[in-house]
Structures are given as structure tokens and as C-alpha cells.
């Protein structure tokens, strides 16, 4: 009670003082206070930027200390640990409708969408105390992206209309990026991995030692380390942690935690003394001092560790199918289990190959009635009950309801379970039954059969496919399933060799649909399914190769292009709705269930973690929930 009074009182003081940072007094972790006393670290006021980012704690002001134990299965996908510690200049809001400045103080997008201005925080420092300025961004652009050896070919993200972006330094804390065309991809910069270390900036003061432009001896240093060229070593030193086990222990960072130790099966991270976030009463964040990430060899052992309470927070490596198991052991493991939503439009979306090499099948697949029949034959409620414990949402493959241009009817388009109507549609297509009424026949007299090749990882694909096989056989289509290795499946999909492709439908939140023209799943001719490779080739080569698509597809393509160039909100919504109306009518993708839940476990004494949230790549997993304000009640 007393503590709460003090807190309220303190909040009052902060409010009175307003935002004048010079007057604000900051607190710090005992661990750092000790170092300051010993003279090994400057006082906290000097370490924080003039205007630190103020985070409002979710439930209460936290306490310092503790070790956060995290578990991962793969050094490349150490997502839990990575998203608990990393930051970008910006991040997306949880529902991906907004860009929130994180490391940066703010940004502006010019009205013509050609200029993107970034404002940095004055006095913000790297984890070794060196100031972070526009030069670190320019270093990334000029000396890494524009360096032929480090970046032999520049990705299309930075070349709208084929012309390179232009970076202009206004002063140490202001940067302008100019594009040749109005460019929606600027919104994509909001993603915290994209605007994070290695994505938009790099520590110039540290890396220039290894760069030939700044250090003529860079090649010799590389040779000493066992590399042939400077750029080989440079890449190794620069890695900000795509493979978290490859990280250079001395690399400065702006992230919450700094690497201290790497062994083959665990890593120790310690708090960044120069971290630039504070809570509402001026405590420097993070609350938790240490993060330990353990790498486990398999799912069962990881589950076991979670269930016996050795892990404090976990999500990425958990499976929905293990939910009952996790829930059952809550008490013993002393944790809470939450069910979050995933920002996935469809756990499995089927895309009939409309450019099939078999002309008979191609004609069938291109027939809109056929796709409608396939969709109507799927019992989505049953899939939901059997595969997702009834917690997902049965829906058609479309964008998420959080999008500003969303229409509810898209969700329901041909998504009801109506096998009779499906049969009617197929009858109308003149796909007759064979003599003993077991199978429909193609116009050329052969039995109508579809081979579903699929990659069996990432989500409950096998379970859903097995159910769909049953549904489609009921309407007279012979179905065979063939699980494949991921690379093999991708090769087949890319070559357009599948009868029907399937993938999970992600990138369906507002800024992701819009920010990635022609690469977001629903706006491409591939989408992991390769549903129209010949048309795609036709568009990509300006009609020189591939097959000419029908008029309506050409219009669809034009709408997508126009959409990426709109400048008014009204136009934006109009075109978006036109595009997704088309999807709902055409059923290029046939959805099953979407927004399936995702298990999240949090130790009972770990606080300020929301009970409900979106678990998604789009908003970058934990980052959207400000993990620096998580804390342990001591």
C-alpha cells in the first residue's frame, strides 16, 4: 500500500516536472550503481540520451534484478531471445497499423511519399559509450550497401523504379532518405529487424577497423584471423545476430542486452549500461539484469524444461498441439499459460495451380466454379475443433480484420460448409461421376485426381491436409497427399509443377500487405504456392516470356501497381478494397482456419507481460510488448 502511494507520488512529480529531461532524476540497477561507484562507468544521467524513450509499464513499476531464462531450438531462429533483446529505429504497433519510433525519436514521410526523414535521439550511446549518430546510418549505406564487395548486388528494397535511394545528412541527428518514386516500402522500414542493427545502421567506430576504406591493413587483419579477404572477416564481425551463435562478443549494440559468453548450448547476455529506455518514474530499463538463452536439441526436452519450471518465458518454440500438456503442468512448473492470437490469415491456404502444364487440369483449375466448390466442401468448423481446440477462426483466406480497409464479407466468401452446393457447382461444370459413383471424371474421361504436395513443417499442415483430403473425396475428387522436404517443395512450387500449392497465409496485416508490393503473399503470383508462374513470368518480362494472362488478371495486376503509388487515404482504401474484393470473388487462395492461437508461457513471478496479444512475425514477436519492462517480483 505504502509502495503504491510512493509510486503515485512519484508519477505526480514526474508529471509536474513535465518532460524537461535536465531536471529528471534517473535510477539504475544495483549492478550498474556498483560499477558507477567503482568509477568504471559514468553516472546514469550521462549514459542516457537527452530524451530517453519513456515506456509506460503495463501493470506496475518494476524491480531491478533477476535472470531471464529463455529456450530456443535453432541458432538461426532463436526468436524468443532475439525479440526479447533487439530493437530497431522503429517498430510496428502490435496490430501492425502504426509505426512507433523506438531508437529514433521520430520520423516524417513527405506528402509525395518520396522523402523519409529520420530524427535521432541526441546523446544516445552505443553499449560501449560511443555516441550514436547519423554517421552510423551513413556508414551502413555508403560503406556496406554501396560497397561492391560487401553487397555485390543491392536488393530491390532500395531501388524503387530502378533508381538508388539517396541519403542526405542534415545534421548529426537528422537524416533524409530520398526515393525516385513515391514508395510505400518506406513503411516497411518500420519493422524493427529491418531498421535495426545490420538493417539500417552499424557501429562505424568499431567496424571501420575491419573496413579497407578506413584501414588499409584490413586485409592483413583478416589473414591473421584465417580469412582470405577483409570483407569475409568484416561480415563475421558485423553479424548482429541473424545466427545468434555467430555473434562477435565485442560488437557494440543499441539493444537491451549485450553478449557476454557463448558456448555451444547456451549464451549469457547482460544488460546494456547505456540502454536508452526509462520507465515513467525514471528507472533506466531493462529491469532484468541478465538473459540466458539455452539451445535445446529437440522439442520434447524443451517442453520438459518448460514444464519443470526451468524456463521463465517461452513461445516461439512451443506448439499448439502441446497446449494440454503445458497447461497440465502449470502448477508444478510455476508458470501461467496464455493463448495469444497469430497474425496469420489461414493456417493453410490452398492455391490451385492455374497455369498447370496439363491442359485439361489447367482448364478445370481456372474455372472459378471449381475453386468455389473446393472451398464450399471444406468443413472449417470441424478443422477448428479437431486441429485447433476450437480456438482458431474458420474463415476464407484474406487480410486480418485489423486492416483499415477490411470488409467482413471477405471472411465469409464461400467459407460456409455446403457440400451439396459444391456438388452442384461441379455438376454444372460437367464433371460427371463414374459408373459406381465413387469418383468424378475429367472431360477427357480420366478420373479427376489431385496430388497435394506439401511441406510438413510450420504449423499443423499434415492434420489439416488429412481432413481436407476427406472433404474433397466426398465431392468426387480423388486426392493423394505427399509430404515433402521444404527445399524440395519450394523447388517444385517455383517451377509451377504442383497441382495445388499450399502455404500458411502470412503478411496479411495492414503495413505488411501494403509494404511489400508483389512479395506479400496475397499480392503475388507465387505466395509459396506457385499458382500462376507463367503469368508471373509474362509480367516480369514485359510479355516476352510466359503465357499471356486473361484480361481480369491484367487488371488485378494494374490495381496492385496503382495501389502502391496512391497518395490519398481515400484512393488507398478504394484500391485495396478492389483488390481484396477480387480475391474474395476469385478465390485464388482457399482458406481454412486463421488467427489460430499460440501458446505463451510466463513464469508466475514474471510481471508486466500481457495476457492477450498478437504473436506474429509481422510485429516482431516480443518486441511489440516492450520486453525491457518485464520484471521479476523479488
Amino acid at each position: 500500500m505504502l509502495q503504491r502511494k510512493v509510486v503515485i507520488w512519484l508519477i505526480g512529480i514526474v508529471c509536474l516536472l513535465g518532460t524537461n529531461p535536465a531536471v529528471a532524476r534517473y535510477n539504475e540497477s544495483h549492478m550498474l550503481a556498483k560499477l558507477v561507484k567503482e568509477g568504471k562507468l559514468p553516472p546514469v544521467e550521462e549514459r542516457l540520451p537527452e530524451e530517453p524513450r519513456v515506456i509506460e509499464p503495463l501493470e506496475e513499476i518494476g524491480q531491478y534484478g533477476g535472470i531471464l531464462n529463455v529456450a530456443d531450438l535453432d541458432p538461426y531462429n532463436a526468436i524468443d531471445a532475439r525479440s526479447l533483446r533487439r530493437h530497431g529505429l522503429f517498430r510496428f504497433s502490435e496490430d501492425c497499423t502504426e509505426i512507433i519510433p523506438d531508437i529514433a525519436k521520430g520520423f516524417e514521410i513527405s506528402e509525395d511519399k518520396k522523402t523519409f526523414t529520420i530524427h535521432l535521439r541526441k546523446g544516445l550511446k552505443w553499449s560501449n559509450g560511443v555516441p550514436f549518430t547519423v554517421d552510423d546510418i551513413l556508414f551502413w549505406w555508403q560503406d556496406i550497401v554501396l560497397n561492391k564487395e560487401l553487397t555485390p548486388i543491392i536488393g530491390r528494397l532500395w531501388k524503387p523504379g530502378g533508381e538508388l535511394a539517396r541519403f542526405e545528412k542534415v545534421n548529426n541527428y537528422t537524416l533524409r532518405i530520398h526515393f525516385a518514386e513515391p514508395y510505400p516500402v518506406v513503411t516497411q522500414l518500420g519493422h524493427s529487424f529491418g531498421s535495426g542493427q545490420g538493417g539500417l545502421y552499424d557501429p562505424k567506430h568499431y567496424l571501420k577497423e575491419y573496413h579497407i576504406k578506413y584501414n588499409p591493413k584490413a586485409n592483413e587483419i583478416a589473414k591473421k584471423e584465417g580469412y582470405e579477404y577483409w570483407w569475409e572477416l568484416f561480415k563475421v564481425v558485423r553479424n548482429p545476430g541473424y545466427n545468434q551463435w555467430n555473434i562477435d562478443v565485442n560488437l557494440p549494440t543499441l539493444d537491451t542486452y549485450v553478449i557476454k559468453k557463448i558456448a555451444l548450448d547456451y549464451q549469457v547476455w547482460e544488460r546494456n549500461p547505456y540502454f536508452w529506455q526509462v520507465d515513467t518514474v525514471g528507472n533506466q530499463l531493462p529491469y532484468i539484469d541478465t538473459l540466458i538463452d539455452r539451445l535445446y536439441g529437440n522439442q520434447e526436452v524443451l517442453n520438459m524444461k518448460v514444464m519443470s519450471g526451468e524456463i521463465d518465458i517461452a513461445s516461439f518454440s512451443l506448439l499448439l498441439s502441446d497446449y494440454p500438456l503445458l497447461k497440465e503442468s502449470e502448477k508444478r512448473g510455476n508458470y501461467r499459460t496464455f493463448m495469444w492470437k497469430t497474425a496469420i490469415g489461414a493456417a493453410v491456404a490452398f492455391a490451385p495451380n492455374q497455369n498447370h502444364r496439363d491442359p485439361v487440369l489447367r482448364e478445370i483449375m481456372q474455372n472459378i466454379k471449381f475453386r468455389q466448390a473446393l472451398s464450399l466442401a471444406i468443413n472449417r468448423e470441424e478443422i477448428n475443433e479437431i486441429v485447433c481446440f476450437g480456438l482458431a477462426i474458420p474463415r476464407q483466406a484474406t487480410v486480418l480484420p485489423t486492416c483499415s480497409f477490411y470488409k467482413e464479407e471477405w471472411d465469409r466468401a464461400y467459407a460456409e460448409y455446403d457440400p451439396e452446393k459444391a456438388n452442384e457447382l461441379l455438376d454444372k461444370m460437367n464433371l460427371k461421376w463414374n459408373k459406381n459413383q465413387s469418383n468424378r471424371l475429367r472431360p477427357d474421361g480420366k478420373p479427376l485426381s489431385i496430388l497435394i504436395e506439401y511441406y510438413s513443417g510450420e504449423g499443423p499442415r499434415t492434420a489439416i491436409c488429412e481432413l481436407v483430403e476427406e472433404y474433397w473425396e466426398k465431392i468426387g475428387i480423388r486426392v493423394a497427399l505427399k509430404p515433402e522436404d521444404r527445399s524440395f517443395y519450394n523447388q517444385r512450387a517455383n517451377a509451377g509443377l504442383l497441382d495445388i500449392g499450399l502455404w500458411h497465409l502470412d503478411c496479411v496485416t495492414e503495413l505488411h500487405v501494403y509494404g511489400q508490393p508483389h512479395s506479400g503473399k496475397m499480392l503475388s503470383f507465387d505466395g509459396g504456392c506457385g499458382w500462376a508462374k507463367q503469368w508471373e513470368l509474362w509480367f516480369n518480362t514485359g510479355g516476352k516470356q510466359g503465357k499471356e494472362p486473361p484480361e481480369e488478371i491484367k487488371l488485378f495486376y494494374k490495381d496492385m501497381e496503382d495501389w502502391s503509388l496512391v497518395t490519398t487515404k481515400k484512393e488507398y482504401v478504394r484500391l485495396a478494397q478492389k483488390i481484396f474484393d477480387f480475391h474474395a470473388k476469385q478465390l485464388i487462395y482457399i482458406g481454412t482456419v486463421g488467427m489460430a492461437p499460440w501458446p505463451v508461457i510466463v513464469k508466475n513471478n514474471l510481471k508486466n507481460v500481457p495476457t492477450q496479444g498478437w504473436w506474429s512475425w509481422d510485429s516482431n514477436f516480443w518486441i511489440a510488448f516492450e520486453p525491457a519492462q518485464f520484471f521479476f517480483t523479488q
Binding site: 541458432p75 549469457v268 540466458i292 539455452r294 519443470s308 521444404r486 527445399s487 519450394n490
Partner: protein, 320 residues
Amino acid sequence: MVIVLWAVSITAFVIIQLPPGDFLTSYIMKLEASGQIVDEAEIAALRKQYDLDSPIHLQYCKWMWKMLHGDFGKSFEWNRPVRDLIAERLPLTVTISIFTLIFTYLLAIPIGIYSAARQYSIGDYTFTVFGFIGLATPGFLFALILMFFFYRYFGISVGGLFSPQYQLADWSGAKFIDLLKHLPIPVLVIGMAGTAGLIRIMRGCLLDELRKQYVITARAKGVSERRLLFKYPVRVAINPIASTIGWLLPGIVSGQTIVAIVLDLPTVGPLLFRSLVNQDMYLAGSSIMILAFLTVIGTFISDILLVWLDPRIRYEKQAR
């Protein structure tokens, strides 16, 4: 021996190259799985830098040349020298294997002798039943059952070799004791099948020997049963065991990969498995080469051991 090793090196290299794609393909898939967009152009550049563009025989020559100079290459995935990676895992792997070996021999040989000497006794039947169960149960299944059992009834999470607080600590007496506490389960699981098999072999061989004439003659002349058993028959019966010691050597290093994966033991086995899945060429290749080398050495050792144990082999050679 050199020729065998050379043949193995080629086979190993070819097998690693066989599946479609290479390390980069799986690397890119992983990047894409975590949502990053990788351009075609970037892929081409990476491929060039990893030297995956040059023809296979050139890659092979480069690899062999380096290996002859004691350089096993660098793991793509961990970005560390293969030598360091294996060195980090080797001590614990060898520890587990040696404990397992001791466990197996201490249990299997006496039981085998007992079963043969007291054939069709209650003891023999009991051991036979357990032996067959042991042989028939796959190690990983047994491991899963034990894991569940220990979690359910003792609240211990099996997996790994150290408790969390010791995993990060430097070596100390307490850490060693912690290790000893974690050892029984992996040793039991890994040793189970071997023990069961060994009991059967020991029993069978010994039974064969016991029926031979020299035993009957000795018994007729009044040699005590114990002396009779250990003087010759046991020595002969141990031969097949000695000749398979050579296979144990690579086993010591690879350390029962499947069981190690299930129990998440920090041994070389899972590392090798991962490298094969990810097509981490040098790590996989070098691990396989080391294993092959140890097999060849092991076979050599068991040959010598046999000659030493069994005078007949020695004399045969001299007679020729």
C-alpha cells in the same frame, strides 16, 4: 589403411553433396522462415563467397588439402573452426561412452557367464527375459519413457548433463558431482541394448565351449568347476567381444546419436546430425572422416587384441 580412409573421404564428400541444394539453400530457407526476404542476387553473392560455385572435385581437393594440414575447415553454421567445435563436445562424449562401456562390461560379462554356467535355471530365464526386452526396445523409446517417468514421479527434468546453475559454472567438485548425478540415465539408456546383446553373445559362446571335449575331459579329471570355467572356456568365449571392440571406438565419439538427441546430451552425435541436416559441409565431412579414422584404428586395435588373447591366431600365422 590409407586407401580405405581415402575411399571413405570420397564417399563422405559425395554423400554430403547428394541431397538437392547446399548449406546456403537451407540457410536461406531459415532466413525466409523467420520472415526475412532474401533477394536472388544476394543468394548468388553468398554462394560465390562460400565457394559453393566451384565444381565438386575442386571443392573436394581443397578440403582434403586443408585436412592433410590439420585444418578441418570452418563450420558454416557456427562460424567456428570444426576442430574447436568437436573439441568442445569431445570430453563429455568420451566420459559418457567410457562410463557406458564400463557399465556394459561389468554387467554383461558376469551375467553371461552365470547364464551359461547355470543354463535353464530361474536366474538364466530371468536374465534372458530382461535381455530380450533390452534388445527389442529401441533406445530412444526407452529414453522417452524414462524422461516421462522421472518427470512425473520425481519432478526431475531429464535432458542435458548439468543442472542449470552448474551449466554456466566453471569446472569444480560440485559441478562434477552434478554431472555424476545426471549420468546414470544416459548410461543406462545407451548401455541397455549393448548389455543385452553382450549377455546373449557371451552366453551363446560359452555354452558352445562348455560342450567341447576338453571341458568334459578336464571335468572328468576332477578340475574344480570354477577353475574349469575361467581357465579356458571364458577366454575363448570372450573372443567375439574382443573383435568388436574396434567398433566401439567410433561409437565413443559419435556417442549414440539418436539417444543423445532425445536426451539432449551435449555430445558430438547431435552436432554431426545437425551438420548433416543443414549440409554444413566441412563440419559434417570432417566429423565423418574422424569417425572413419577411428573405426579403422579400432579394427586395428581389436586385431592386435585378438592375437594377444587367442594364441591360435598367433600360431596360425607362424605356421604359414
